[in-house]
């Protein structure tokens, strides 16, 4: 398993290198000259040139890339063209919040999806199965901004159980953190829950028909053990694939949900950077997002190795 992990880790290096090219190349792809934007519409040609020189935009691409990659490796992602805050600081503030939100959403979606899938697979064709099937259709179809508003209306404004907006760091007050993150995480996680429940229900039904499940029953194992051990380990493989895809989707979805609930995550930073063409910030955020995506893919692959011994190298 360790060898598998190291091999898999080594394969990420070339991918990572490629990603840095692409992220750096963003500068070239975005229309308009950042120096012009920063200098402002009233600036003279000389002023624009001065800005360009200050930012190093006049030097050869290779030199610019080298500078960028070496400082990025040492944790310096440059400074924002507009706020003059270090990009690393902005990301360092927003990323934990976004990760907490996306992580909670993932946990919530699993907490909903796994029991639902098991019950509807075991009670296939009954009213319970039909209700959960309708529920997951709704979960996939309803847009998160609408769901979020409905949750705020119901749980915050009508029932007054949970705060409508804001965020408290978990290290400051875990209880307040939980009550603040619950609604945004639910909003963000519900589509994933619906998708996972569907996928898992299907694969459980498939696994239940396997001969080895009959063997497990023939051994006299209790139902809990048959389902929890013999069925779930095999049925989880497609779920893990779906989860891997969902992690990146959650990061994207977080941008919207953060807006709805006023959560100070990376979404706000990203939105500002894109609208103002703040290249260093965009680069930093894309880099971080790609890293998270790669990390989750790595996790998915390692989980495959755990679930299916055939994919482990021997």
């Amino acid at each position: 398993m360790l060898k598998f992990f190291l091999t898999r880790l080594a394969t990420t290096v070339p991918v990572l290198l490629l990603v840095t090219f692409v992220v750096f190349g963003l500068v070239l792809l975005i229309p308009g000259d950042p120096a012009v934007t920063i200098a402002g519409p009233e600036a003279t040609v000389e002023q624009v040139a001065a800005v360009r020189e200050r930012l190093g935009l006049d030097r050869p691409m290779v030199v610019q890339y080298w500078d960028w990659i070496t400082s990025a490796l040492s944790g310096d992602l440059g400074t924002s063209l507009f706020t003059s805050r270090p990009v690393a600081t902005s990301i360092g503030d927003g990323l934990p919040v976004t990760l907490a939100l996306a992580g909670s959403a993932l946990v919530i979606s699993l907490v909903i999806a796994v029991p639902t899938a098991i019950v509807s697979a075991l009670r296939r064709g009954t009213w319970l199965d039909r209700i959960s099937s309708i529920g997951s259709s709704l979960g996939i179809a309803l847009p998160s901004f609408w769901l979020g508003l409905m949750f705020v209306l119901l749980f915050s404004l009508t029932l007054g159980w949970l705060p409508a907006t804001g965020y408290v760091a978990i290290e400051d007050d875990p209880g307040a953190w939980f009550s603040h993150i619950l609604l945004p995480a639910l909003t963000l996680g519900i589509a994933g829950a619906a998708e996972s429940a569907r996928q898992l229900r299907g694969s459980i039904i498939g696994v239940l028909q396997q001969d080895y499940v009959r063997t497990a029953r023939a051994k006299g194992l209790r139902g809990r053990m048959v389902i929890g051990k013999h069925v779930m380990k095999n049925a989880s493989v497609p779920l893990v694939t779906v989860l891997g895809l969902q992690i990146t989707a959650l990061l994207g979805g977080a941008v919207l949900v953060e807006q709805i609930f006023g959560v100070p995550g990376l979404g706000q930073v990203a939105l500002n950077a894109v609208t103002t063409r703040d290249i260093p910030v965009i680069q930093g955020i894309v880099l971080v997002a790609v890293l998270v995506a790669m990390l989750s893919n790595l996790l998915v692959d390692l989980t495959y190795g755990y679930l299916n011994p055939k994919v482990r190298p021997r």
Binding site: D211, T215, K219, G220, L221, R222, M225, K229, K310
Partner: protein
């Protein structure tokens, strides 16, 4: 067989039934839910299995032999199956009265199964050792370490070479014959009183078949357990069985001791099966086959269910309800109306 009846002590629960019968099945009826409603797939099957003997259940695919055994073990899908019986007794357990939970306590230590498909009957996601060890943990409360040690012993017992290393491997690293040995180790783990072997050698090469049969025989000799051997291969039956139950279209059509059945079949279906079996003493003789196909579930013919394919069928065979089982000799029954007039050919 010496009957140790009525004595006190640990063995009393097993002996106090007064006979050496381990499994008693009387009038077993199994209905399954098909697309066109409930259909009876096992219709009034009765038999018993004595301690240490091997009962063969023979029939074509679809004759209900596997369903019979899966129903006894409570392994048919509950919502799509109805199982009824006048008697279903396994030692001192009345299986008709057990809850699913109590039934799961019986499976493993009292009755266990070996299935036909060694390729798919083991879980691909767990090591072979773990799949044996979990039976011991479940039924005997063995610790992880203890159960693992005994799993290795069991692998050794069923003839898997370098068992300690093999126990840590996964099923896909085993050949078909080795996997079937693992299945046998699982079935054997809690020393059951009855092992049901459902076509255990059908999917294997002929040489491996012989090895597995030999292993089963050896284990049975050692532990004195009863074996129900489901097969469609009369060669295997002749090899391992003491008594045979012949099934056709969900009913038992003949049952007898092995020699009686082969020398003196009393049902035309059994005669047909014997004629379809290659003979060692006259290999040049052309093999006969039984014309036609077994009836489909839900479309059973009137009268004797075999009559559309029977060369001896008379008018009396074609109408009314199915003929009753008749005792034609000691321990020999047949479901043929004309058994007294016919002289059927055996294959001794």
């Amino acid at each position: 067989m010496t009957a140790t009846t009525g004595s006190a002590g640990g063995a009393a629960t097993r002996a106090d039934t007064g006979t050496d019968t381990t499994l008693e099945v009387d009038n077993l009826v199994v209905d399954v839910l098909t697309e066109s409603g409930w259909a009876t797939v096992v219709d009034g099957v009765s038999f018993d299995v004595r301690r240490g003997e091997t009962l063969g259940i023979v029939g074509e695919s679809g004759s209900g032999k596997s369903v019979t055994c899966l129903s006894i073990a409570g392994l048919m899908p509950p919502r799509q199956t109805r199982v009824r019986a006048d008697t279903l007794r396994l030692l001192d357990h009345d299986l008709t009265r057990l809850t699913p939970k109590q039934m799961s306590d019986v499976r493993g230590p009292t009755i266990s199964m070996i299935f036909q498909e060694p390729m798919s009957s083991l879980n691909p996601a767990f090591t072979v050792g773990d799949q044996i060890a979990e039976v011991l943990r479940r039924h005997e409360g063995a610790s992880r370490r203890e159960s693992r040690r005994r799993a290795v012993e069991l692998l050794d017992r069923v003839g898997v070479p370098s068992p300690a290393r093999r126990a840590t491997q996964y099923p896909f690293e085993f050949s078909g014959g080795m996997r079937q040995r693992v299945m046998i180790a699982i079935a054997l783990a809690c020393n059951p009183d009855v092992i049901v072997a459902d076509e255990p050698t059908t999917a294997l090469d002929v040489t491996v078949q012989a090895q597995i049969l030999e292993l089963l025989r050896e284990i049975q000799r050692e532990h004195g357990m009863s074996v129900i051997f489901i097969t469609h291969d009369l060669g295997v039956v002749a090899d391992v069985c003491d008594r045979v139950l012949v099934m056709y279209a969900g009913q038992s059509v003949e049952s007898a001791g092995l020699d009686d059945l082969f020398e003196d079949p009393r049902h035309p279906y059994m005669e047909g099966l014997l004629a379809a079996m290659p003979r060692m003493d006259n290999p040049s003789e052309a093999l006969a086959s039984i014309p036609g196909h077994p009836p489909r579930v839900g479309a059973m013919p009137d009268g004797c269910r075999f009559h559309p394919r029977c060369r001896y069928a008379a008018d009396a065979c074609t109408g009314g309800s199915a003929p009753a089982l008749e005792l034609v000799a000691a321990h020999h029954t047949t479901r043929c109306l004309r058994h007294a007039e016919l002289t059927l050919r055996g294959n001794p």
